[in-house]
């Protein structure tokens, strides 16, 4: 250890604030270095003087006069409602029976919450994309509300929309972001069911994206990419606002 390092740690050494190893290092250096020893002695006597201040304390007279002011204020102190509420929660929570009841309520609430979350995830009412533009077919669309029947070419068939989206439409007069509308049509040329969907999503041009789930031997595809703008969907849909 050199003198520079020693002088940096000596203030801590003088107050006994170093670990045993560090202190040993400093002691070893002090054995050899007279200048640091002198530095330390002055720090140590300063430390002792500081400690000596500890012996003086507040006088009984000052304490008594403080108490005279304090005790009447204590007796009349009104606690705010938030303090009383916090006190109730904290103090009561320390009692086992109430703590148990609290824990039970917490379990019930969180179980309900997770059950709902699971329900929502399993049967989403908004569009689920696998990457930026691959839409997953909502498995339960047939349980949705039939919004109407399309008869304008090239579409014909029933239009389904999720109850949640429909409720919001009734309440606010517009469909929420993520709304999926599914059109189920019997396409004569395929023999099977063809599904088409429009999704309200601001990432698409003018806020709506269009999709077709082509039918195959095992029914319609489970997912599909967005139709390109060149498919011309927007031209007709724009006039209808959806």
């Amino acid at each position: 250890m050199n003198c520079k390092r020693a002088k940096e740690t000596l203030p801590l050494y003088a107050g006994g604030d170093l670990s045993a190893d560090e202190a040993d290092n400093v002691s070893a250096h002090l054995q050899q270095c007279a200048s640091c020893r002198q530095f330390h002695e002055s720090l140590a006597s300063q430390h002792a003087l500081l400690r000596s201040l500890r012996q003086t304390t507040a006088t009984p007279a000052a304490l008594a006069s403080m108490r005279q002011g304090l005790f009447p204020r204590l007796a009349t102190q009104q606690l705010g409602w938030w303090v009383r509420l916090e006190r109730l929660l904290l103090v009561e929570a320390r009692r086992p029976r109430l703590a148990f009841a609290g824990a039970a309520i917490a379990v019930i609430i969180s179980a309900t919450f997770f059950a709902q979350l699971w329900q929502v995830t399993a049967n989403p009412t908004v569009a689920i994309f696998e990457d930026s533009d691959t839409l997953r077919l909502p498995a339960d669309y047939r349980d949705w509300i039939v919004l109407g029947t399309a008869s304008t070419l090239p579409h014909s068939g029933n239009i389904f929309v999720s109850p949640a989206a429909y409720q919001e439409y009734q309440r606010l007069g517009r469909f929420p972001e993520g709304t999926v509308m599914v059109l189920e049509s019997k396409a004569a040329n395929m023999g099977g069911i063809t599904l088409e969907a429009s999704v309200k999503d601001r990432r698409f041009n003018e806020g709506w994206g269009y999709f077709r789930f082509d039918g195959g031997a095992e029914g319609p595809a489970k997912k599909t990419r967005a139709l390109p703008e060149s498919a011309g969907c927007l031209a007709c849909h724009r006039d209808r606002g959806i």
């Binding site: 002055s42 720090l43 140590a44 003087l49 000596s52 507040a58 108490r67 304090l70 204590l74 303090v83």
Partner: protein, 202 residues
């Protein structure tokens, strides 16, 4: 090294036998008298620290009252399994900071700061009695009060009050590393100030 050989200051007397947990429970149940018992146990410690952190007996008295009013209000936050003193000291530090902020008073840097009006317990002879020592103590106290506020607080708590570094960190609401470096810097600065003054006088 004669100084280090002298009698170490008496540590604080052990807390009175009255069970603090019982007193806290009684107070929370609405018994004001029980809290008065708590005040009696800790008033000296709180007021002594206040008078060191602030200036003048009036400020210290106001601070002590405020500390106990706050402690009374937030007593339910106290964890009775842990020592009460650091908790009260923390409130004391906060109250004193508030008072300092309110009065906008910086510490007297250039003039002499009187030692707080205190008494020395009359147990045996005080090794630091005598006029020369008194003067030296006064010089040290003035120099201590001229330190930057954070270093001053850390030094008062660690060296004068005798809390451990960990306790000081808890009381000041900062980390142990920070407190350690504040203490180190404070002691060094204090020594420089004392050396400088000695130089002036000779």
């Amino acid at each position: 090294m004669e100084l280090l050989m002298t009698r170490l200051p008496d540590s604080e007397t052990a807390p009175e036998t009255l069970e603090i947990e019982t007193l806290v429970r009684k107070t929370l149940a609405g018994d004001c008298r029980a809290f008065e018992q708590i005040v009696l146990q800790y008033e000296r410690r709180v007021m002594t620290l206040s008078s060191r952190l602030l200036h003048g007996i009036d400020e210290a008295q106001d601070a002590t009252q405020e500390v106990f009013l706050r402690a009374f209000k937030y007593l339910h936050r106290l964890d009775v399994r842990r020592p009460v003193e650091p908790w009260l000291m923390r409130i004391t530090v906060n109250v004193c900071r508030d008072i300092q902020r309110k009065t906008q008073r910086r510490h007297y840097t250039f003039c002499e700061v009187p030692l707080p009006e205190t008494e020395t317990p009359g147990r045996g002879p005080d090794p630091y009695s005598g006029f020369a020592w008194e003067q030296e103590r006064q010089r040290l106290w003035t120099a201590l009060n001229a330190l930057p506020e954070k270093e001053r607080m850390a030094l008062i708590l660690r060296d004068v009050e005798g809390f451990s570094t960990a306790e000081v960190a808890e009381i000041l609401g900062s980390s142990e590393t920070t407190v350690r470096s504040q203490i180190c810097r404070g002691r060094l600065r204090l020594k420089e100030a004392m050396d400088r003054k000695t130089g002036d006088q000779s």
